[in-house]
Amino acid sequence: MSIATTYRTCPRSGLQFEANAEKLIIANAVAAVVFLLIGGVLALGVALTRWPAVHWLQADTFYQVLTAHGIDMLIFWIIFFEIAVLYFCASTLLRCRIATPRIAWLAFALMLIGAVVNNYAVYKGGSSVMMTSYVPMMAEQSFYLGLILFAVGALIGCFVFFGTLVVAKRDKTYEGSVPLVTFGAITAAIIAVFTIASGAIILIPTWLLSLGVIDKVDPLIYRMIWWAFGHSSQQINVAAHVSVWYLVAAVVFGAKPMSERVSRGAFLLYILFLQLASAHHLLADPGLSTNWKVVNTSYFMYFAVLASMIHGLTVPGAMEVAQRQKGYTRGLYEWLRRAPWSNPTFSGVFISIIGFGFLGGISGVMMGTEQLNMIIHNTIYVPGHFHATVVVGTTLTFMALTYYLIPTLFKREMISPGLAKLQPYLFGLSMYFFCLVMMGAGTLGVSRRHWDMAFSGMPMAYEWPGAAYLMMGLVGISAVAAIVGGAIYIYVTVGSLLWGKRIEGGAASVASKPTPLMAPAAVAQGYGSQGFAAPGTFVLAMVFLVAFILYYFVNWKYLSTVWGLS
């Protein structure tokens, strides 16, 4: 059966886009950026209120704005963009048509309607329950309904992705195994199916509860299943942004994976072990056994952490190998010094890799340790950690990818390339600082989701140490810098789409070109056949390990000084 569609090959990148897939990728990416914009405006309200000297919004507005910020960013911005990435990794990389474009549009419509319904519920008031919406605190029914519609849409999107893989296989548009980047996308999609199913299992009864159809949802079970959705969806993000790291290494440096086996094996570890992470949010909860907590919080002996540590080495390692082959072999770091630092696609990804590992990764393992969790649970350390993962890691990576896609996918010349050059540094580095000071304040115990750390007017007010106020002031300042960085991203991308010079995207043809194979990697013809191929990256990895070990044990030391608990 042949379906009438056309393909074009982008003259700059050599990527081939199928007409339906192209429109779908554009629609999902644009929707994503709209929610990033909304979430960014809300971030300003959140940050300027948590900055003690400014303390901008009223309490009810603050909680409302924080609810919307969390959902718009973490769910709508990220997942719309991920659906775009999935379609790209299937249809574009495998050079095939997208399966069932009509259904893909239906998925898009459901997601969009769901997102709008949910946002409307929050802005109307009466649904300031935070994105976690722990029962028995209830939002309006349309709050849940919006999330459910969105989730169903995203689930359908995943199935369109799987369908597209089937189309590619059946039409033989590629030979052998799918590319590594697509393999990573498959990982993300598999985790997404598990995640969204968990979301449905808990949100549907909660919606029925809000409608009065059922009369109880157990608060502890809610927390467990909600986090099987909430945390596992962070694993979709990790799988997706790691795939994009490989993609960027490939398009910027022509880098090949050091070893397909290692990189793919690491993705498989994600599928096998990432699902268990809802435990991270339940370590300070009653009712769960110690064994359950220890096994699950560690993803069964830290195998998913192992996977991330592997990717953290192999992505820069692949870049290093590619650069060394170009002749940048002097010393440990000529390859890195000669990297295209003024290309925002590269700099964004590199800043993301380092920040994700050093800030997000180390803090995540620390706080996910069963006992150590007690000294940070629900403090502002937690948002400090996850802004390092989901903002420095995922968001910055997606921003970097957008710069690559503007000429290729959107067929526009980028406006203000100077600003774009600056953007990853401003956004990424101020986010580094923002995360650090939030973690600092959290280490001093400052609460998350809290309107007034001064407890004004309360007879038993707790007085935080001066250092905590200082840290929260720095949170406010660095947040403003990061928001400016985010605004530049929106300006450059939206501006390029609206006013950028149109560029030739390649003529439409009815036939798809076959996908070429990658030449065998020079590196690994046999174990050690290239000597020690990426020494610079290895040293970097050792620095990471030392930082990790030190920070980890400093926290045990801290824990050992608090009250005895048993």
């Binding site: 590629y174 050091m258 080495l313 990697a521 013809q525 990895a541 005895g564």
Partner: protein, 179 residues
């Protein structure tokens, strides 16, 4: 370009690994095992492990128990807040009720003594955040969590609610004394 193309060596799982990767995988694996066994080790040798002793309860039952207990051990009333100050005996039970938007009552404990602290909520989720020691425990309605605590320093402590519990969340702060 490459990671975006299918590998020429079809059997990717036979693709040899590089020495840098091999070395790193071994190191990372060992570290992961240390991370894991550190938790187990601390359960055996550490002094800060969160108890998992939990009972299901109801707001009425928990409140009744806590009030009966307080009636027995109340030593005086706090002038500012009007809350009872309750001093349970060494090794005895201590209760803290979390509800919108207060912690009830004020405990007076002794340094070096051990108490069975019962935590539950009468309504939403709350957070038990003991400051400045910085011990944080989730308080879930319908569950009575019994945590054994041994204060190791005397002083005046605050209990801050650090789970969002509605519009008065930031006013939810309690007190605890250690003699």
């Amino acid at each position: 370009m490459s990671a975006i193309l299918p590998p020429a060596e079809r059997l990717w799982w036979k693709h040899p690994l590089d020495r840098v990767e091999g070395t790193w995988i071994v190191i990372a694996f060992v570290w992961c095992m240390i991370l894991f066994f550190m938790m187990v080790f601390w359960h055996i040798y550490g002094r800060q492990n969160l108890s998992t002793e939990t009972y299901t309860t109801t707001p009425e039952a928990f409140m009744a128990k806590a009030e009966a207990w307080a009636a027995q051990y109340t030593v005086r009333t706090d002038e500012v807040s009007g809350l009872p100050i309750v001093a349970p005996p060494d090794g005895g039970d201590a209760y803290i009720i979390s509800r919108l938007w207060s912690f009830w009552p004020i405990l007076e404990l002794e340094k070096g003594k051990t108490y069975r602290l019962h935590l539950s909520s009468l309504d939403y989720n709350h957070g038990f955040s003991l400051q400045p020691v910085n011990i944080n425990i989730q308080v879930v309605p319908g569950y009575e969590h019994v945590v054994t605590v041994t204060p190791n320093q005397s002083g005046t402590y605050s209990i801050v609610c650090n789970e969002f519990c509605g519009i008065g969340h930031h006013t939810m702060v309690g007190r605890l004394y250690v003699k």
